[in-house]
Symmetry: C2
Subunit: 147 residues, 2 copies
DNA sequence: AGCATAAATGAGAATTTATCTCATTTTTTT
DNA sequence: AAAAAAATGAGATAAATTCTCATTTATGCT
């Protein structure tokens, strides 16, 4: 069952170790952006705290992990897999859920044009962008306090 | 000279104290988004560390301070003044500078439409959004290491 | 202006999150 | 299988933010 993670590790020529497999499996299994808190919970004491942070840095170094900060200041990580295309994030201000969102191609094109204007205006070289959306999940949410 | 900050405080009915005036003056004077580090430097020891954080929270509470995290994980704050319209941010990955950017009205309209689609799709109530752009300042920049 | 009350401050302790150190264990190479 | 290199675990350390509490300051009312 850990074939996926072993493959990922060997493809990036980093040595195959138990903590790395466990962290990758947890991320693959969860499938969504996850806070480091939640990740630690999922892993229990199978991976030492210091090792978890080290492994996450390793994954960032080989460019298969994306890290960002949620509006309530927790650190969120997500795997960047082959089929993982450019996307953005939607945050629930209540329960803290983070959802992947793909915006339309037309929109991304318009944003790119807009960014070109910004580059010129500020004499910047813009290499990346991020669109973040904040609100409340109105669905049946077990975690949302508001229900 | 501290009339601006006194006015801001009284308009929001929070008591007028020296630390609050000093922090507001520093923010007004700098005029741009500023990291808490830099703000502490500007203030020297005129305001205690604990008080600075408290005052920033006070300003957040009365909705005249915006706080966000820069890509290098420093906390950035900026005043929200009357004339301060909806805008976004551009970050230099090298020197850490944060620049206010207004995007075109057409773009914001398109983004709003895009967000409406997202709301429906995920059954969310989206109340706010943020566009962040990352890159390098190519201008003469005293702080950029690359030069 | 002076007093009473409520609110804010300063100093440092405590908490939280992340990194670092180093002896030991595991992985890789030979 | 042995040697060399790399990674790990446990705990120490560091940085950022919040908390505690005794003292000071601001406000509202004589
Ligand atoms: Mn994502
Ligand atoms: Mn701004
Ligand atoms: Zn929710
Ligand atoms: Zn720069």
């Amino acid at each position: 069952m850990s074939q996926n993670s072993r493959k990922i590790l060997s493809e990036h020529s980093v040595s195959i170790t138990n903590p790395r497999i466990l962290v990758l499996e947890a991320l693959l299994d969860f499938g969504n952006p996850i806070t480091i808190d939640e990740l630690q919970l999922k892993l229990g004491d199978s991976v030492a705290k210091s090792t978890l942070y080290r492994v996450l840095n390793d994954l960032k170094k080989i460019n298969i992990l994306n890290e960002f900060t949620s509006p309530d200041n927790s650190t969120v990580v997500e795997l960047i897999l082959e089929d993982h295309s450019h996307h953005h994030h939607l945050f629930c201000s209540d329960c803290g859920e983070v959802i992947d969102v793909e915006l339309s191609e037309e929109f991304e094109i318009m944003l790119t044009k807009e960014i070109q204007k910004v580059q010129k205006k500020f004499n910047f070289e813009i290499t990346d962008h991020r669109v973040e959306m904040f609100g409340l999940c109105t669905e049946e949410c077990a975690n949302c306090k508001k229900n």
